[in-house]
Symmetry: C2
């Protein structure tokens, strides 16, 4: 892994890039951010959702289960202090109507507990909950 983070505007506008992609980052408005990008904690929560999404899709492929719709809503609560780490993250999966939601919920939990490198990189005190809807 090799990434580059560049400050592209004052006070806190950044671009982070790997070999193919640029993503814009900014601070929260409460400290002077200008809404020009994702915030650092949003990037972390996005990484968690993406990691779980990929591993869940791999399991669905092995089970030959298809879903046209695959969307995750990410919500999070943080400690009200400095620093303000995550206390709780809720991932709400939206998939096709016909899918076995109970089985999918079990697969998602399995991924979070055993496969996902992002969840394994986070403080294990953070509560990660999931829901499946259609």
């Amino acid at each position: 892994m090799k990434l580059s983070l560049n400050r592209v505007g004052s006070p806190y506008s950044f671009e982070v890039s790997n070999e193919t992609t640029i993503c814009k980052m900014d601070a929260s408005e409460s400290i002077g951010g200008k809404n020009t990008g994702l915030r650092p904690m949003e990037l972390v929560a996005s990484g968690l959702a993406g990691c779980v999404a990929i591993d869940v899709l791999r399991i669905l492929e092995k089970q030959r289960v298809e879903t046209q719709l695959f969307k995750i809503e990410i919500q999070a609560e943080r400690r009200e202090a400095t620093p303000a780490p995550f206390e709780y993250i809720l991932l709400t999966f939206q998939v096709d109507e016909g899918l076995d939601k109970e089985k999918l919920t079990k697969n998602i939990q399995l991924v979070i507990d055993k496969y996902c490198s992002v969840s394994a990189s986070l403080d294990q005190g953070i509560i990660i909950e999931t829901k499946v809807v259609s």
Copy 2:
């Protein structure tokens, strides 16, 4: 915080968005990714670098220290297993020639230890090292 992660292409092309910004995400090539975005673990490392960057810039502002150049290179090593969490992250800061690098290094360490919400959300076993160059 409210984010949405959408699958936009097969097998693992995603877009994650907050109220203003969209960022592309993809899986690593080793599992079939197509290099259409940042990878989940890259997003997490980017979030760490961005969080530290913002807090360090706030300290520099308070100290009335200016730097035209403010860039961070992000490198990381991960466990060679499943899951493969971060073991080591190196943030290399590039700033203007004239800056007091020793003082900046101390400020960066202070931010990682006491202020940054991303570092406080990560597994505390991960070694985070920093370098300052110009």
